[in-house]
């Protein structure tokens, strides 16, 4: 192709061009890794060998073989499998082998979403059809038509579903699934890393119920899990399934040489520390690559961003390539549409894809040479997922936005490259979640005296439920005795019990529910006149009906967002753990958080000017949860009360950015609040609490790693290019000229004292 540059040429150019050079703050090259393969297992069923042959597979990667062998020796496994490393064979091989040997055997596949389940069905059915195996595999979800449901239940060798369906449709109707449960040999859990936080804690309890039903029907299935790289894969898998697991991490798939670039757009307004927009910078980079017909994938964090970038790019290259050669990709696409994109990429008709994080799951993008991320995707593991793994040389560019998190990551490359990825946390013992699933379990089968629910002793819980007139004890059994269907009142994906339903009333006649939110968060995010962002679209809350738990919203196009002030009152109820250091005290325990929303401000995008405010009239909410905290013993009187308060607020703001990063949680799930004089010890204190009743283990993790959190926060604040503190680092509330300095002083004094014992 005349005049077109190759990827190598572009890489060279980037190294030399003065414009790019000053923006590329990190250039990390990861060397290639050849494939490690082994011959197909000797005992593999001939039909299966044939099916693999038709797909052009005549050997296995080492991790696929290990998975196969572990299953043969009846061991449950979790396989760490990066993108496009052939993870599906890790479970399809042992499952198909088992069913071919014994046609009564059954397997249950669990995927976090319907779309992924659909994808898997297509993939496994291709293999089944190609070789004429007499195996039925079906998806069972909300879309499964009623006339084939019966068939799926009775005759499905492989049933592919999601945890929500398992929770509300399969387990409460287990008597219709006798042939599945009696013969269940394998439970496959794909995308294991997705099951974390509240959702993961729910799913762990659904698995307890699943195992309980299997035991009742006399089966003892093996678990085969696959996961992206997280720090604690094995621990997480064992915690989720409560099974002894064997870790398979000898990934044998090859990967090419990879250049990983951190790209920081230039500062355009020095005093306000505003950088050129990441979107515009991505347009420039991607445009350059696409003009040279280099296949590129661009990730953006919201649907709106995807649309904007897509429009830009299509416009940019429409004369050279035709606008059809760049496709957008968002969650909720059908498998056929995905296949079309994959096919287009393979055949070379499509050069570029602009995608939300949804594509991270489910589309094979192995052949793309370049990946551009518009902003840090939020966790180390999803950044690596998006970066993918290609066979040839490839280029990954992460373009930072001006958000503090992005700026932190880009200025601390060692955090990203050296640190092990995040830890996935779940707490299957959260009492609220546990008791909900105990109810569902009792509905499914009566509890016997002395029966354990997973690792939980049930006696006290059963007594409690009996006192609440939900269970009835007769002789040595506890029976469900209530007219409700408990699974219908429990949603695996919502944070709390009494959720506010968000209703879009933009178009009369097309009123629809677009989401839900726990009432504690709703106070600050869904009050009257709040601007609510839903998947990148702006809505204004027309009315929040607190009694009916409904928020009515209308689509708007506003140039501001709203920020509610909450008066938070935190009280320590019980101290479970403490470490007393010379100058500080670190604690962990049960707390009560009372919060009342007071007023909200309208804040202009970009300039962050305050352009109006209004009152919020909502009742006080109370939350009982876990918290960890750190208090200063040191005297701060010389700093002045006002300055100390501002400093604590600023420090809390900064910590709030780093804490979720550290525990791999949604920023919504963990909150940080300062108290100038904590109730329980009368000392200046910063609290981290779990934003879910009963706690889900996040603050406990902070407790054990509090030094690191403070350390990283300090680096973030120091690394910020502002002079006296800006909304990006210490927040909009700190306005004094010494704000940044005060925050750093306070963080430092926490750090000094914390380090002392190790220094002594």
């Amino acid at each position: 192709m005349i005049g077109k540059k190759s990827l190598q040429e572009i890489i060279e150019e980037m190294k030399l061009s003065s414009y790019y050079k000053k923006n590329i703050v990190t250039w990390q090259t990861i060397e290639e890794k050849p494939a490690c393969t082994v011959p197909l297992p000797e005992d593999l069923h001939p039909i299966l060998k044939d099916a693999l042959g038709k797909k052009g597979i005549d050997k296995l990667y080492t991790h696929q073989k290990s998975a196969y062998e572990a299953a043969l020796f009846k061991r449950s496994i979790v396989a760490v499998t990066p993108t496009a490393s052939g993870k599906t064979l890790c479970y399809n091989l042992p499952v198909l082998q088992e069913i071919l040997t014994n046609s009564t055997s059954r397997a249950l596949y669990i995927f976090p979403t319907k779309a992924l389940a659909q994808d898997q069905k297509s993939e496994i059915n291709e293999m089944i059809e190609a070789s004429g195996m007499n195996i039925n595999s079906y998806t069972y979800d909300g879309d499964t038509s009623t006339n084939i449901r019966q068939k799926v239940r009775k005759a499905g060798h492989i049933v592919i579903t999601n945890p929500d369906m398992l929770h509300s449709a399969i387990l409460p109707h287990h008597t219709k699934w006798v042939s599945l449960f009696e013969n269940l040999k394998f439970i496959v859990i794909d995308e294991l890393h997705m099951y974390r936080g509240v959702f993961g804690s729910h799913v762990a309890n659904v698995i307890r119920r699943l195992k309980r039903i299997c035991r009742y029907y006399g089966s003892n299935p093996l678990f085969i899990c696959t996961s992206a790289t997280i720090a604690n894969t094995l621990e997480h898998a064992q915690c989720l399934t409560e099974e002894e697991m064997c870790l398979i991490d000898n990934n044998g798939a090859p990967s090419g040489r990879k250049h990983f670039l951190f790209y920081n757009p230039p500062i355009v307004n020095k005093p306000l520390n505003i950088r050129r927009s990441a979107t515009l910078e991505v347009r420039k980079l991607a445009g350059e690559l696409l003009k040279n017909k280099i296949q590129t994938i661009v990730f953006a964090r919201s649907r709106v961003r995807v649309e904007i970038i897509l429009t830009y790019l299509q416009d940019l290259i429409k004369n050279q390539l035709g606008s059809k050669s760049i496709m957008g990709y968002r969650g909720g696409y059908l498998p056929t549409e995905r296949r079309k994109i994959e096919k287009g990429l393979r055949s070379g008709e499509i050069y570029g894809v602009v995608s939300t994080n949804a594509l991270e799951l489910g589309v094979d993008i192995g052949q793309l040479q370049v990946c551009i991320m518009t902003g840090y995707p939020g966790t180390i593991s999803s950044a690596w997922q998006q970066a993918g793994r290609r066979h040839g040389e490839s280029l990954v560019i992460m373009v930072a936005s001006s958000s503090p998190l992005d700026q932190y990551i880009i200025q601390n490359p060692e955090y990203f490259f050296k640190r092990s990825p995040e830890t996935a946390r779940i707490n299957p013992y959260n009492l609220i979640i546990l008791i909900d699933h105990m109810k569902c379990a009792a509905y499914e089968l009566p509890f016997k005296q002395g029966e354990k629910f997973g690792g939980v002793d049930t006696k006290e819980l059963l007594e409690y439920l009996a006192e609440e007139r939900i269970l009835y004890q007769n002789a040595d059994k506890w029976y469900w005795m209530n007219d409700s269907f408990p699974a219908h009142n429990i949603s695996l994906r919502s944070a709390s019990q009494e959720n506010i339903v968000i209703i879009d009333i933009t178009r009369t006649g097309h009123v629809k529910v677009i989401g839900e939110m726990d009432s504690f968060s709703a106070m600050t995010l869904l009050h009257d006149e709040a601007i609510y962002l839903h998947q990148g679209t702006q809505f204004q809350v027309e009315k929040l009906d607190w009694e009916e738990k409904k928020a009515f919203v209308k689509e708007v196009d506003a140039d501001y967002f709203t920020d509610a002030n909450v008066a938070v009152h935190l009280k320590v109820l019980e101290v479970d753990k403490t470490i007393n250091l010379v100058d500080t005290e670190v604690g962990y325990g049960d707390v009560s958080v009372r919060a009342m929303a007071t007023i909200f401000k309208k804040i202009k995008f970009e300039t962050h000017e305050n352009i109006g405010s209004g009152p919020i009239h909502l009742p006080e909410e109370e939350l009982h949860t876990n918290a960890s905290w750190i208090s200063l013993n040191k005297d701060f009187s010389k700093m002045g009360k006002g300055q100390l308060e501002q400093g604590l607020i600023g420090a809390a703001h900064a910590l709030n950015h780093i804490a979720p990063l550290f525990v791999m949680a949604d920023p919504q799930d963990i909150h940080v609040i300062p108290q100038i004089k904590a109730d329980h010890n009368e000392k200046p204190t910063i609290f981290f609490y779990d934003r879910y009743p009963g706690g889900i283990g996040l603050s406990e993790k902070i407790y054990s790693g509090i030094v690191e959190v403070f350390h990283e926060t300090k680096k973030m604040v120091e690394g910020c290019h502002c002079d006296n503190g800006c909304p990006s680092c210490v927040g909009a509330e700190c306005v004094s000229e010494t704000a940044k300095k005060d925050v750093l002083t306070i963080i430092q004094s926490f750090l000094n004292s914390s380090f002392q014992p190790s220094e002594v």
Binding site: P172, H173, H174, T175, K176, V178, L431, I432, I435, D436, A442, Y443, E444, L445, P446, E460, L461, E463, Y464, A466, E468, R469, I470, Y472, N474, A475, K477, Y479, W480, M481, N482, D483, S484, F485, P486, N489, I490, S496, Q497, E498, L573, E574, D590, E622, L623, H624, P693, G694
Partner: protein
Amino acid sequence: MSLKNKLNRLKPHISLEEKKPLPSNEVIEKIKIPFSEQWEKEKVFPYYFDHQYCLVREIKYPITYKHGHYFFSDFLDAVHIWNEGPQNHPLSASGHKAEELFFFDTETTGLGGGVGNTIFLLGYASIVHNELVLRQHLLPHPGAEVPLYQSFLERVNYKTLVTYNGKSFDWPQVKTRHTLIREHVPKLPSFGHFDLYHASRRLWKHRLDRLKLSVVEKEILGVERVDDIPGFLAPMIYFDFIENNDPEGIIGVLKHNEVDILSLVTLYTHLTFQLCGRDPSQTRKESFEVGRWYASIGEDAEAGQIFSSLIDGRDQTSNSAKFSLALQLKKENAIKKALVLFEKVANEKNELSFLACIEAAKILEHKYKNFEGAIKYCNIAMDLMDTIDSKKQNELIKRVIRLKQKHCKFPG
């Protein structure tokens, strides 16, 4: 902190089902039955099995007993009618003796399907030695399902179930609960099933807003309930009963269930009389619905007869009957007769005129090549379209254009 203390602290976050009064900690004596005297008064006796028991109530009604508009002896006539008559119908008892029909209804602790919805009352009635014998098996506490199903399954001897919505609710639920104890009790037998809910829907959907059995009873069957406990309270009463064992409340539920079952007998009798034309007070609309039902199951002779009997008159039913009959005649290739009827419906302004015009136009065009006549009916149809339905309109316009072209090519 103890778990219970934590739970109590977290209580506001836990969704709790409604509270009921505190339980008594009384342990049920397995052999001694609490309140046995009161039970006996209500003709309820224990059934023992495997160191457990359930409660069984048995009531006999003479065949001369009248429930609603019918005597139970009318039910014997109904079975006789099916056996003698020519009609084929999904509800036909042809080939059955009256004794082989088994009127069945349950009471459960909740709504909808799902393993945890326990059946606490199995009730049924059938004809035995010229009497209607009604039996009810009551679960005295949730742990006694084995004796409940054991007693039920060893007494039942039937060929066909008669239920109200039992195909989608009662029987699947029996299967679900039976699966849980299938190793301890006999298998569930197979059987035929008459679900009268669907029949009622077909016949009375036009008259009744809701088709609950209690509504059909009151509006159609002439059944009056005295001091009845509404069905939706049954679970609450049952929960109360297993706490205090006092029969007083639950007897009300038994009686409610009893009336439900008796009404099934009357309903089956009434439906038979409707379907076989034995009800002199049957409305024209009801007859028409019966005709439609026969037509939909391919019993054209029976349907034709019913429609023919309804075509005189000037009401909507007469038009509906003409139209349905015409469709049937068209199917049988009696084109001429069909056309006459379609034209009648088309020319008499009513809700079927539009469709009748189209049908008439089709016959005139394809069978008689009478394009002018066909165009005339298309024009009438065009005038009849009061609401704008662009799809219909387009079809009609296409038809007219085609007809006009044909008319030009082959005038007359």
